[in-house]
């Protein structure tokens, strides 16, 4: 069967993240949230919600909007 839409995922480097939350506010699918653990810099880094979801149920399109707006290049994006 053919896929309707690409699925993707992202990784966020906790320690690079400075908690500006631009990714949170710009992700079209609202798949990023604020974690409550502090990183070493004293920020609450952003977290990808679907990390543990299996590919099939992911809503992340790998559009890279989050990475585009991330000032600190904390996000890497994967897509198939």
């Amino acid at each position: 069967m053919t896929k309707k839409r690409k699925t993707g995922r992202i990784t966020i480097d906790e320690e690079l993240c400075k908690g500006c939350y631009l990714c949170v506010s710009f992700c079209p699918e609202n798949l990023i949230e604020t974690s409550d653990g502090l990183n070493q810099k004293g920020y609450y880094p952003a977290r990808f919600i679907e990390t543990d979801k299996t590919k099939e149920d992911r809503k992340c399109t790998g559009c890279a909007t989050c990475a585009t707006v991330c000032p600190d290049i904390a996000i890497e994006v994967y897509r198939d």
């Binding site: 502090l38 070493q40 810099k41 004293g42």
Partner: protein, 179 residues
């Protein structure tokens, strides 16, 4: 005691310089000689910031503290930097929210304050530095909470009152926590 040097250290964003400045102004209003020496590393954004405040009843010859009496440490890199410098029997106030280990020194007194957590309860990261400051003056008796409040009022005059209250609360919570 009539004369002391304190180092305040942390990340640029943590209000470290403000903390030291408030302390300095307050001591000043207590009629002390004061020197306030910010690390200019702070000019370059983000990097670690620190400042040294020396207070004394007489003229201060050097604002630098090769071995500070007190240290207020807001993050791990700063711990690494100061744990060796602080003088014997000195007091170190640690932000335990960000620092998961103890200093290697066993000849100093360590006070741990989970400032970020407390701040979270208060609902504003802005208060972290005031929480630490409250804890600091209470633990070291270098000056009174009231002097600090007066100092704050002087510095923030013109600014909107809400900020003031928030700071007051932060100071108190920090003080409570250590007393």
């Amino acid at each position: 005691m009539s004369s002391s040097k304190t180092a305040f250290a942390g990340f640029g964003g943590q209000g470290v310089l403000m903390m030291g400045y408030v302390f300095a102004v307050s001591a000043m209003r207590d009629g002390k000689h004061v020197t306030y020496l910010p690390s200019y590393g702070a000019e370059v954004r983000g990097g670690t910031a620190n400042c040294t405040v020396a207070i004394s009843d007489e003229e201060i010859f050097s604002p630098v503290a090769s071995s500070p009496d007190y240290a207020v440490i807001m993050n791990k890199p700063s711990l690494v930097k100061y744990e060796g410098m602080i003088r014997e029997k000195g007091i170190m106030i640690l932000n335990s929210s960000l620092i998961d280990r103890d200093p290697f020194r066993n000849d100093i007194n360590v006070v741990r304050v989970p400032a970020n957590e407390i701040a979270k309860e208060l609902g504003s990261d802005r208060t972290i530095n005031m929480i630490m400051l409250g804890a600091f003056v209470t633990a070291t008796k270098t000056t009174s909470l009231d002097s600090i409040m007066n100092g704050l009022t002087e510095i923030l005059k013109g600014k909107k009152g809400g900020l003031m209250d928030l700071n007051r609360i932060g100071l108190d919570r920090g003080a409570e926590y250590v007393s």
